[in-house]
Amino acid sequence: MNILILGLNHRTAPIEIRERVSFSEQKLPEALRTLKDCDDIKESLILSTCNRTELYTVAKDVSGGFNSMKNFLNSFHKIPTQEITDYLYTYNNKEAVRHLFRVAASLDSMIVGETQIFGQVKDAYFKAKEANTIGKGLNNLFEEAIRIGKKVRTKTQIGKGAVSTSTAAIELAKKIFESLTDKRVLIIGAGKIGELTVKNLYSRGVSAVLVANRTWQRAQELAAAFKGKAIKFERILEELKNTDIVISSTSAGHFLIKFEDIQRLMQERNNLPLFMIDLGLPRNIDPQINKIDNVYLYNIDDLAGVADANIKERQREARRAEEIIQSCVDSVINRLELQETCICPLSLSSFRA
């Protein structure tokens, strides 16, 4: 028995190619059956997401199987061979098993540790099961992959920590405040990341969103999106008294919020913690403010630093995940009675020839 994978992903192919070879949900059953009926192929499964399209098969013969798969991809999507050949990768047997496990454990994802891919692998498996195109081989293999995906998630911290600027802000807010549901948010100026951060906070149920912007119209639009209130630019300091989270992203060339203002304000607000996020460039908030007790000021670089630290942490965890996978591959190979990976018959270069 040979297990073969042929596919492309976000690393090997640009989006223009990926979108041409992806399989829509309606066409998937048909595609699965067509693939299974190809020469040399006994079982078929297709994993198609926005970042990857991969064909999984069990074949009698390695080179014959790869040929059939490639021809199927070309004829099904009506793409000339030479256009996609350069983007394709192939794996067989041991390498294929390892690849699938890495995919299921989210080690092969654009953002390592993201959770979506695990669900997508599961989904692809169930779809193929429904279409009745998989037998014992892929069945066992995918059961194993799902088990390992779960194991990696529970045994390592690979999915932990915010890895984008806006989610990093949320993570910090959750470590400063006990709960976000009774907190008031003030957003000054309307920038992309600022808006995204407020959106995230809003979905976590903050009690009120205030919007201050130079253009009144824009402020009202934004406020409406979060069932909030638009306020005049001059009233910012006044409103700060009852605000817990401030996000500022204006292009004003000077500090909008000064050290003395906040120092005075903290007494008025009884030292309730204040989380300030400065996304402006040049900065809108005096960086000295971070030195005041119970005030936490983060600028765009600080947030990126938090996200970076999390990414590094995930990479460290990814190494542990690789070890877990490595230790599983051999036993699975034995159980499935797979042959060793063969390198000779068909590789990317032979496609090109």
């Binding site: 910090l172 405040f177 030292n271 913690p273 007790d293 119970n294 936490y296």
Partner: protein
């Protein structure tokens, strides 16, 4: 006929009779402990082992963040607490007064009260984080008690009073609450440093939010303050009876007053001046260090009316 009924009754009641006889024998045989010394030691060691396991579990939980291990640790703590309660109860029954009359008894009782307060607090929070900070002290106290002589000695005449249990329990309750506040204070300062320095490391995820530890710290101090005030009042009432004056500036009394004043500052700052977070955390830490000094330092270094160890 009558003999037959008698026989019936004896048959029915015999198990109960046997139990009573067995229990009586037990009491007579091991009159002081209800258990003989070997059995008592065994139970004490068992308690210590459970606390140690609990402590280890919480440390592992802190690092791995696996909730199952935290729950397991809580379970160990609970079992340890139950065996601890049992041996304290047996000892109290044997003594006829609360087992707080010498250093060994007092350490064990202090550890028990800490566990009581901790388990009550944890039962509501279920975060397990606090255990990582509280349990090491419990293990140390119990470990210290373990190496001390646990023989029963006659009670000093001045201590023969119903006030003994009340006064000591109130004081230990307050100490335990202050220990909680101390732990929350440490967690606060640690987490605050992570947030202010913006260098996020592994501890950032493992420590709870500033808001939570600040609130719990305040709550612990409030409870502790009430208990300490009551403890001091009960002490002075007892002192009036036993020594003839409400207050005699004995080192322990003086230091209790110092602790009381430290927490007065805490509460005044919090309620009147709007102190929050870092300042409170510092005071809670200083406060508990003074508690430790009052408990150990005063007893060993300064002699006075309270020196019974």
């Amino acid at each position: 006929m009558i003999t037959a009924i008698k026989k019936q009754i004896t048959q029915i009641t015999s198990p109960a009779v046997i139990c009573v006889i067995f229990f009586k024998n037990l009491c007579n045989q091991y009159n002081h402990y209800f258990l003989d010394k070997a059995q008592y030691d065994l139970f004490f060691n068992l308690t210590f082992t459970f606390y140690l396991l609990c402590c280890v579990c919480f440390f592992v939980f802190f690092i791995t963040q696996k909730n199952k291990i935290g729950t397991l640790g809580f379970f160990f703590g609970l079992i340890g607490f139950l065996t601890h309660s049992a041996i304290l109860a047996l000892r109290a029954l044997a003594l006829g007064y609360p087992p707080v009359s010498n250093l060994y008894e007092s350490l064990s009782f202090f550890a028990w009260i800490i566990m009581l307060v901790y388990l009550l607090a944890e039962e509501r929070q279920k975060t397990w984080v606090n255990g990582t900070f509280v349990l090491p002290l419990v293990v140390l106290l119990m470990g210290y008690a373990l190496i001390l002589d646990n023989k029963i000695r006659p009670l000093a005449p001045a201590l023969q009073s119903p006030w003994l249990g009340i006064h000591v329990t109130l004081c230990f309750l307050s100490y335990s609450c202050f220990l909680m506040a101390f732990c929350f204070g440490v967690m606060y300062l640690w987490q605050e440093r992570e947030l202010k320095s913006k260098k996020i490391d592994g501890f950032f995820f493992r420590l709870p939010s500033l808001g939570l530890v600040d609130r719990l710290g305040y709550r612990s101090v409030s409870f502790g303050f009430v208990f300490l005030s009551l403890g001091i009042i009960s002490g002075s009432l007892w002192a009036q009876k036993a020594w003839g004056s409400f207050w005699s500036w004995d080192p322990k009394e003086t230091w209790s007053l110092v602790i009381w004043l430290i927490y007065v500052v805490y509460l005044h700052g919090r309620l009147m001046q709007g102190w929050r977070g870092r300042k409170n955390a510092y005071i809670a830490i200083i406060g508990f260090l003074s508690v430790l000094f009052t408990y150990f330092g005063v007893s060993f270094l300064l002699s006075g009316l309270h020196s019974y160890f």
